[in-house]
Symmetry: C2
Subunit: 289 residues, 2 copies
């Protein structure tokens, strides 16, 4: 499956909606590091903004200037959305910084206000305003929709599916496990601290092994940015498993991509499209909510 | 210097103030793990509550029950303060959990509401209510006051002093660096990610080496919970340096404790006293603010 093609569908929707507005949303993108992934991501976001008609400023600040820059952008009425490229400090200070962004301008949907909404499965931000979901978990749902396994025409879109997610970060893996289990899946969430099982957005302890979790999974999702991770091979998973990797490095062996399986090697383009979608939603919440 | 004796002074103040109240504050202490340090700390907190006259419930919950237990305690009008023993998950989820505590019940003073106040040097929480400062950084200030180097009778209590802090965690080292530099000190904050310099609560990049930072420091503060840390010896520091360790393990060599120096090997008893003080402050903010 080609994520770029699916991203284009969502970008087109955003582009057409923005064309009908009487003014353009404006976002500010803060780049603090020379990290190659962040710089590439910044290029993609810039191009996407140009493509859909979102005004943007890509501003270079030092890591020590970032907090004040965020607080200042929070106060600036001409800015509708704020976006940061991570990591900045690459430690717990990054979570602090994420929460300095005013939730009404939080394109990434990663501040605690939106996390609370997500965990409570509350899709509204009051007064006809819609909640913001974090870009990468949302992109995964869109790709699973495209794969035909996440059905938006039923109340529990992914009822009965078993899903194994390798990553339980606060910014992707844990919200994703909550969303998918809330939508009907049984999710095994595995990281270096061990496995947890999520059912109906409730985590419970489990002793399940990697091989047990993998062999029973209808969908396997990976996001482990470490070369030490033992990449997942075809023999470990179902012949018709849907495999999706959102890590910047390959977490599946090449033999996984075989007839009978849907293999989604990357999520990035759809994540960027979701950033555009969230930017538009923040703008609409602000002006028309 | 004996931290237990200094702790007793602060406990006495709290005890006498509580005796004059028409009812007792009530706090809830959530213990989730079998971590030995947490269990010891729980015992100390329990005894301190009994000593000063704070009603408490020490409740055992599993790590997966903790979030709901916190949210429920937030809603419970009979509870004035909430306290957690860390680590729980020992990853970034702990920062998430810390922020689930309603700031009006946050004994530890570690949720983002109080962190914002601290970084803005805003001592008020409105309507005659006083801000809550995090217990361990506050305990360090009290010990430095006792050591005669933090002078509460002048506007900039620690003007002109050079301080070296080994630890820049979000819960102790960084707030402590902000507080001390805000009060007039030049602070070199060092951790595994390198050094930063804090002046007037503003961090800046620096290339200073460990030996340079140590040899010029009037006060050396350590909080490195790793046996890999090369403990600090007498030859590295000033003959009249004040040395304070808040880590659970020794970060100074024994030869540091020599005539001419004030050596404070632990902070724990004063931290617990500050928890009692914060509990009383939350109670007063709630009932008499």
């Amino acid at each position: 499956m080609d994520p770029a093609r699916i991203a284009e569908q969502y970008r087109r929707e955003v582009r057409e909606e923005i064309r009908l507005l009487d003014r353009s949303p404006k976002v500010i993108l803060f780049l603090t590091t020379d990290n190659a992934d962040s710089k590439t991501y910044a290029q993609y976001t810039r191009h996407a903004c140009e493509d859909v008609g979102i005004d943007y400023e890509l501003r270079r600040v030092t890591r020590l200037e970032l907090e004040e820059a965020i607080l200042s952008a929070n106060q600036d009425d001409s800015i509708h959305g704020i976006f940061n490229y991570w990591p900045v400090f690459n430690n717990e200070q990054d979570a602090y910084l994420r929460n300095q962004v005013d939730y009404r301008k939080d394109i990434e949907g990663l501040c605690l206000y939106w996390t609370r909404k997500l965990y409570d499965n509350d899709r509204s931000a009051g007064d006809n305003k819609k909640a913001i979901l974090p870009c990468t978990p949302l992109a995964v749902l869109k790709l699973l929709t495209e794969a035909g396994v996440y059905r938006t025409d039923i109340e529990r879109p992914i009822e009965g599916k078993k899903i194994c997610i390798f990553n339980r970060s606060e910014i992707v893996g844990r919200p994703l496990a909550m969303m998918l289990s809330n939508d009907g899946a049984t999710v095994y969430s595995i990281d270096i601290n061990g496995p947890l099982k999520f059912v109906d957005a409730k985590p419970s302890e489990t002793e399940i092994s990697r091989s047990e979790a993998l062999s029973s999974a209808d969908i396997v999702i990976t996001g482990v940015p470490s070369p030490d991770f033992e990449s997942i091979g075809s023999a470990e998973i179902k012949a018709d498993a849907i495999c999706l990797n959102f890590s910047s490095i390959a977490n599946f062996k090449e033999d996984v991509d075989s007839p009978g399986r849907i293999f989604i090697p990357r999520v990035g383009p759809v994540t960027v499209a979701m950033c555009m979608r969230n930017s538009l939603r923040l703008f609409k919440n602000f002006h028309y909510g």
